[in-house]
Symmetry: C4
Subunit: 505 residues, 4 copies
């Protein structure tokens, strides 16, 4: 029975006992940041599913709510008459958390974590983050689609590309700078959009904003940020430039409002995500949440009778799976920002994109989080550029690549093959999660140091000199999986070993 | 000395002590479901060898007998005068089983087995089944030929095929349905024939029948089912469709009876197995049975002097190794069901099959259980279709693939390359063994969920849109085995490690 | 000082104490099978080096001597005046062997070794042999050249060849028989020559003779057998056929005598080893002997100042490194046996061989014991046959392959590619070492069982039907070594795991 | 405050207490070999960074200083007025070193290290060195750039090249000799330049000089040797020949002096390093030094605000990153020695080098210590030679290869592909570090033994007979990385195992 909540008299706070009564499917209140909300109806439309809401029915949900919702979420998505006013926090019964041995172990690892100077490359931040992050946060960031083959291939593909460096070039002074969509940057990478920054760091995406400013690179603001869009914009300084990553809403009015607001706030590029008509299933993430249903943004509810319908509705509430090529002219019409497609995965679509008049594409597979066995961006780039060059179209758009970039050599390879720049996401999340802003700063500086050195070693003093003759890509296109191992044969082979100790004679 | 059994007076039950006397090679009775049978002569023709019968000479063999024989076996294969009538079960001495510590461990694993909702993909059922199934049952289902290279290659081959997804297609509504031999199905897979279902679940193949009905897919009924053919037919509902998998008997009259009976019972497809003129040796299975000779259907009796002859006779008793192309017109003449060849493995034979007038082929290597180093069905498909398209024959038959399909992406790859649908076998056996019907239900639902999502992500809203441009198969044909490992070199290499803990300074 | 041994009066035995005095470099006697020999001078020309002799100076060397010298060695190679006569064995002081814990462990493994019926394939004998053989014997048999890459590649290469079986052939009756150099055999393999059979079994190579007889296959008698040539000939029965493997001696008179003796004793093929102008270094073997210098046939004496010279002399004493093409006509002139070259490794040399008039070649790399990174015989075969077919020379000689054959499928692959038959060596040594003649018998029977089954499954009822269309060799020629592993990346990857136990909720 | 040091009266030694006062950034003295130096100003220009100097401010730095600076360093680089004279070593307070458990373990490993005769190949020395060297010394020698992919690929690339040996050639006498730049050598390798020899052995590079003399091979003297150039020259004997490896200094006068001095001292080849405009980052080395900042030659000072600038300055002080093709004629003008470029990495640059008039090139990637994903020298050679042969330029220069050579077979492969000889570096460092001169001697002898044997086995009696028909390089160009592993699939696969023990029946 759906009971009508009484509106709270101004100035009078609700009592915790009263809130605690509304603790079930038919009558469900929750407390967030000291305010009470009636989510009885809303919970069925909650993109993360109603189960996670019901777990906090009648209780304070702030700690779980915070990392995965921008602060303006409730104002935007819950009608005003469901905002029931403040609660007297002293009247809330504290949940008695059992001592969680896993969490105690994690705290011990945090106490003993390496100092920042022990991180010498981007993988090192991941190594530290894996040990010190909360399990569910780690699972959300680190997981990929299905068997995570594409996620791993993204970096692995760079290992199939080898250098053909030239010697005896004057490389005393190295200029790493370039431009992206007209914006000068100090080095050809940008911070790409990644969701839910507060899972890793209580301040969220603004930490990345500050890091990007320090190193004069562009940040792409994610639609699914933990911070609100305006918070992230407010965090920029001087002439700092940001871009907007966009999930297109079914309600184009909402989308139009978002885009035009971003343009007004100074965003200089609109990146429409086209590889996620449905948010991917990530089993590592799902498995980690089976016990702790904290950040359940992608639960497809496998155990639920009306699951598929529920998931479809949930997703359709903020991402439009019917988005298609016919929509592109409209985007070009509502903004003066350059419009780019993020998630292009084959040459035919790059050509279509150019014909559509967009300003660029990001060859990307969403960090391996959507379609498993999608090819790496770098492999698609190697397929795309020769075709464009044949048509003399290589300068008609800017082409970016993301996914798997961990070393400056990866970046150089992408530029040699024709990319204007590369997007880097998870590594900065890990650096931020483990060490906050100093981590992000060091991660970016390490990339610059590596880049300067490797530009010298490849024999180029500026990024415009990079071209395909510097790379050997003969191994790139081969998706080889070895013949399954000869289990019996390997089992009987007596391997050679080197000498260890003095022989007894 | 072969002594003539006295016929039992009606109504009078035999006494256990009497039965127990007939306990040797020359005079051998066994009890099954409370009835006594004289198998003195029959045991030498027993397809599973006489040893396993002798182990139960004079005793109750029901528990071992049940999973590997359909209920009508004795009626069909043992002459009536060897049916000696009922035994008074109270007079049977119970065998005192030693406590088997392996079995106790297994029971403990069963008690702690994951709940069904913890299974997120088809491999997960296998992971659970491996832990909770009886060792011999697991060995029978999971084993393959020789070094099990082909068995593993079957899935691995799919990993050499990568996607070329297209973007910005309207994928709001996804239609997974198709037809198979004219039957509409909800998704392009069928439950392929697998033997001895009761090894994994006491109800046997009817569990699969119920699962197939729930999800509106076709079940192929195996010749070597644990349930009788009629039991499996009886289990179907409404307009549910089944096919028949056929091992061809030397006695064509038996074969004809089986086929025509199936047609009468409503089967809509006849799949003649052509890759098993002799049932394969599976060493994992043989090794597991060396101690427990329970389900010895394929013992080639390596320790037996007249072994090869014995095995040949055993096999020739129900599979005809002389079956050949000249027999095909006869099959077409005895049934109106579409006739398909199951186990075709090269393009030359697909062409022959078309010329013969059959209605389809299954590119299959029998789940890797017959010829090791047979290529995967998907690789054969990639060889077959271009040749058929060249002749414009690609629509003259329906082509199916089985072996190694574990993910919806595998299914999509097969359809992109030209398959009408795919057969899935072991995963449903594992789901059924671990969780019964709910397991099968969830396994099928997971496939549907994966399929719907991945159709969206590849940019297709119905299965007829799938075509070869969506896949990159450049790596598929290469059976590479790396140069043997550099044992000494790997032994001395000091691998890089990330930071773990704070350095002591 | 080299002191002149007194000749022993007839009938009077030497006393152990007397013998024990001759225990040094300058005066060195040894006892073998109760007889005393003065090896003071001989030891410097001993092919196995003098150190191993000096270890037994003045003592009984029988146990170490036996496995590595045919019984007629001393008669052949030590002048008669160094044969000092019998010693009274009661006067010999027994060496008090310390309890060797390794040997005790081995004895325990022997006690618990699997019964023969637990071996289901040729690798299984190797698995047992590795556990129950003496360490030095195992090291001698199992070792290969340098990094043992070629040794392992020999089998691995077969894994790059996959089948294209045909279906619906009448395969009721399978005929495995063929002929080799005119001799009818029951199955297309022969027992190839391997040295020092008594290391594994006290009876030595005659065990293989008996096994070959039982299964009607040919045995190739090794020059370096532990049994004498005549012992091995004497062991044959009925019309059993043997071949002779020949290391060519610098002294052609000796070689001529050996060849003509073999012909007289009924040998039907002369296989001249051409891949061993110098016996290979095998480091696993050398390392195992550093402590126990027992069977030191290949010590290159790395620690010895005049080492290389010493080794060269040692080797030149029985193998002629100057053997070359000009010598071949001479071999054809001294015998009516067919002459074959064993160890041919490239197509140019096969052509030369044909032009020389020899009757066949064995494509072989000496079991990976000579030149590391020599290609596998099967790969060379795939290179050779198309060239011969182009010239229509494919029937001018018989081509054999050895190395790495472990499964009937390997044999079938070689035959498909054009080999007349295959040689198998180590597997029979392992079977003989672990189980004696019954082991060899079972190993051969398993090959026959596998062969019959796999012939059926590939769709051929006799070996002459095998041809290249049955195999897919596209992967064969590629010697790929993966990019070195991404140590840091693999170190941080958090692998997916299946469900194990019920989640705590 | 920078205080002016008083000059020491002749004959009077400084007191330790006085020195100890100058222990800070503004006033910094250090003691080396009993003499005091004021490095207050110099430390900011110290190529290894000032931190390592400050650690010894006011103290005795000899032990750390010695291995990484030639004895004449201070005379060359520190102005004379900063040489403050002798200190009375009795007045120096001994630093009380804590017992370092790692060092105790190492000492224990040294006590139990294998005897030299247990090393059978070049990898074995590395195995021993890894166990007995000091951790920082091991890290300096064994580390490579970034992920050390190129470092490992260097040897691994040889594994993709296989032999096509010929048979029946007279190989009784093998001649390994050749010439390099006109100098006759006994075998086609030279000892290539490697830095900081005293880290591994207190005598440093002169040990290699002695080894090279003993085996009649050429030593290339490194610019960054621990011994002074003249010490290394002085160590040569008879007609022994040395070459000079040169890092080009910004101050060409210094470079000219070095080159002409070398020529005067008898050097017969000038190898200009062209692959190191900046010294590489080696993370394993950096990580090992985080605690022990001993030999900090490549610290890029990641933790330092002005780090990159500091590092750039440090490096520019002795290596000129502006070196380019226009400088080459000048080198040719200042010396009569043959001039070669060391570190050439693509065919275009080999052609340029020939056009420039240099006498040779070394195809090298600096042992994998500079640019990761640079290709191996042997792969570049396979790219270079066909192009040169097409132009008939293959004899216009001498081409050498270094990196990853560990076996004589590697050397033979390089010669087959067209190299005049190969450079070997680390293996001799390891041999020297573990066993001193006897180690180097044995390492070289092992190479000769392997070479003689393998020349026989490939069928060539002298190195000029080696040519491309002896090698199969089809796998060489493919930089393959397998599809990422199927974690779930591998996790559920139940591998085949051989029999271990008697079955319980």
């Amino acid at each position: 029975m759906n009971h009508e909540p009484e509106q709270q008299p101004k100035g009078k706070k609700l009592h915790g006992e009263e809130v605690a009564k509304h603790n079930n499917d038919k009558d469900c209140w929750v407390i967030i940041h000291g305010r009470v909300y009636d989510v009885t109806e809303f919970k069925d439309e909650h993109p993360g599913g109603k189960n996670i809401i019901l777990r906090y029915a009648g209780k304070d949900a702030t700690e779980t709510y915070d990392p995965i919702h921008p602060p303006d979420t409730l104002d935007k998505y819950l009608e005003k008459d469901k905002h029931l006013g403040e609660v007297d926090m002293n009247t809330i019964e504290k949940e008695q958390l059992d001592e969680d041995p896993d969490e105690q172990d994690r705290q011990e690892r945090v106490r003993r974590m390496p100092v920042l100077e022990q991180c010498y490359n981007l993988m090192d931040f991941e190594a530290v983050a894996r040990r010190v992050m909360k399990k569910t946060a780690w699972a959300y960031y680190s997981s990929g689609a299905d068997d995570e083959i594409t996620m791993r291939e993204n970096h692995s593909a760079y290992h199939k590309i080898w250098f053909r460096p030239r010697i005896l070039m004057d490389v005393e002074n190295i200029d790493l700078s370039t431009t992206m969509l007209g914006t000068p940057v100090s080095i050809p990478f940008y911070v790409t959009a990644t969701a839910l920054g507060k899972l890793g760091n209580p301040e969220g995406e603004v930490v990345l904003t500050r890091g990007a400013h320090k190193h004069n690179v562009i940040q792409m603001i994610p639609t699914l940020a933990s911070c609100s869009f305006d918070e992230i914009c407010d965090a920029k300084k001087d002439g700092q430039i940001q871009w907007l990553q966009l999930y297109v809403n079914k309600d184009r009015a909402i989308t139009k409002r978002i885009v035009q607001h971003a343009e007004k706030r100074g965003c200089k590029g609109l990146f429409i995500t086209v590889d996620a008509p449905q948010l991917g299933r990530r089993e590592k993430d799902m498995r980690s949440k089976f016990q702790d249903v904290g950040s359940n943004v992608q639960d497809t509810g496998g155990d639920n009778v009306d699951r598929s319908q529920g998931a479809a509705r949930a997703i359709s509430s903020f991402i439009d799976p019917s988005l298609n090529w016919k929509d592109i002219p409209w985007f070009l019409s509502i903004t003066k920002m350059p419009v780019l497609l993020k998630g292009v995965q084959r040459v035919e679509d790059v050509i279509k994109a150019i014909e559509c008049g967009v300003h660029g594409v990001v060859l990307s597979n969403h960090g391996g989080r959507q379609l498993d066995f999608a090819r790496s961006g770098i492999e698609v780039l190697a397929e795309v550029m020769p075709v464009l060059r044949e048509r003399a179209w290589e300068n008609r758009i800017e082409i970016y690549v993301d996914g798997g970039i961990r070393r400056a050599t990866d970046m150089i390879k992408a530029l040699c093959l024709g990319a204007k720049g590369v997007g880097i996401g998870r590594p900065f999340l890990y650096a931020m999660s483990a060490y906050g802003l100093p981590g992000v700063d060091r991660a970016m500086q390490l990339l610059k140091d590596e880049m300067e050195m490797n530009m010298r070693l490849i024999g180029c003093s500026s990024v415009d000199q990079l071209n395909p003759t510097f790379v050997d890509t003969r191994g790139l296109s081969m998706h080889s999986a070895a013949v399954p191992s000869d289990t019996l044969g390997l089992g009987v082979y007596d391997p050679l070993v080197g000498p260890r100790e003095k022989a007894k004679l």
